[in-house]
């Protein structure tokens, strides 16, 4: 297959499709960041990222999937951070493909919280002056 073949295939495909909006708008787009450091990669973060890219598209959810570095939760890898439009980011740990599916169906689609959230917005007495 040459690049020209790939291009021809894409052109044929596009002629039958409505072009989707490509601009990324945080007001309406879900942002999913997958931690992709050594611990994440070794635990399967690549498959999780591929799953999100494919499934958000398949389930018609406007979103952007990117990778990030170590978030510090190596014991809970794979970890992802999901930011729904207008909401605070939430970090999920122990994300296997089954949990990724739940996160899409429940948290992303309806806002219902799913097991495995890693709390990040707490203050300890040490951080208070």
């Amino acid at each position: 297959m040459s690049l020209a073949d790939l291009k021809k295939k894409r052109d044929e495909l596009k002629s039958g499709l409505n072009l989707r909006v490509n601009a990324i708008d945080p007001e309406t787009h879900v942002q999913v960041k997958v931690a992709m450091a050594t611990c994440g990669i070794a635990s399967g973060a690549k498959e999780v990222m591929e799953f999100f890219i494919e499934q958000l598209d398949r389930r018609n959810i406007q979103g952007v999937v990117t990778q990030t570095g170590c978030m510090g939760y190596c014991y809970a890898e794979p970890t992802i951070e999901v930011t729904l439009p207008g909401k605070e980011p939430v970090v999920f740990g122990y994300v296997n493909l089954k949990r990724a599916d739940q996160i899409i169906e429940r948290y992303i689609k309806t806002g219902e919280l799913v097991d495995g959230i890693i709390p990040v917005n707490y203050e300890t007495i040490h951080s208070k002056e």
């Binding site: 490509n22 050594t38 990669i41 070794a42 690549k46 591929e50 890219i53 990778q67 570095g69 510090g72």
Partner: protein, 185 residues
């Protein structure tokens, strides 16, 4: 790491963190010399002189979230397990080269794995970075550059899942035609 493609994904994260704008990934399967060579070159910030001899120590890392850095030590470990070695050279402000060699037929050499998936994912996740991928086997050469993709497919978004799948298939079919390891997922 279960496959070398995952080690490559890991090392490229270092290049991305070093703010590289050009990253090149070269893989050569040289059966005549029984060698597999993987080279990752970037134009990022580089590794300071005082750290360069220590980077393959797992307890040395530039991260602040934790005290362990396993990317380079694991690559070194896998290369030595397969009768090879890993060399890291760097010039602060110019870039870094990580070169790992392996005995191609060594029974402990990890399979290359899903290199097509890794390359397409890297391009998708880092659209502003220029990637050059080159794979050489005794049967031929395959190369792909993100600049080539952008200039040929300007209306496609690297965020478009069906395009990414097509691109991955494109890479796999070309790797198959040169008999590369990693052509089959």
């Amino acid at each position: 790491m279960k496959s070398l493609a995952l080690n490559i994904l890991d090392i490229v994260q270092n290049s991305v963190r070093a703010q590289a704008t050009e990253i090149s990934i070269g893989i050569a399967e040289i059966s005549r010399d029984n060698l597999l060579v993987i080279e990752i070159k970037d134009n990022g910030n580089g590794i300071p002189d005082e750290l360069i001899d220590k980077v393959t120590d797992p307890f040395v890392t530039t991260r602040s979230t934790r005290k362990i850095g396993l990317g380079l030590p694991l690559l070194k470990f896998h290369s030595e397990l397969a009768g090879g070695r890993t060399e890291i050279t760097s010039e602060p402000g110019k870039g870094t080269v990580v070169k790992a060699t392996f005995r191609l037929s060594h029974p402990d050499r990890q399979p290359l794995g899903d290199i097509a998936g890794v390359i397409t994912m890297l391009m998708a996740a880092n659209p502003a970075t220029g990637f050059e991928y080159c794979h050489v086997t005794p049967e031929g050469i395959f190369s792909l550059s993100s600049k080539e993709i952008i200039s040929n497919f300007e209306n496609e978004s690297l965020n478009d899942s069906s395009f990414l799948q097509d691109l991955k298939q494109y890479v796999i079919s070309n790797l198959e035609s040169i008999g590369a390891d990693g052509a089959v997922k």
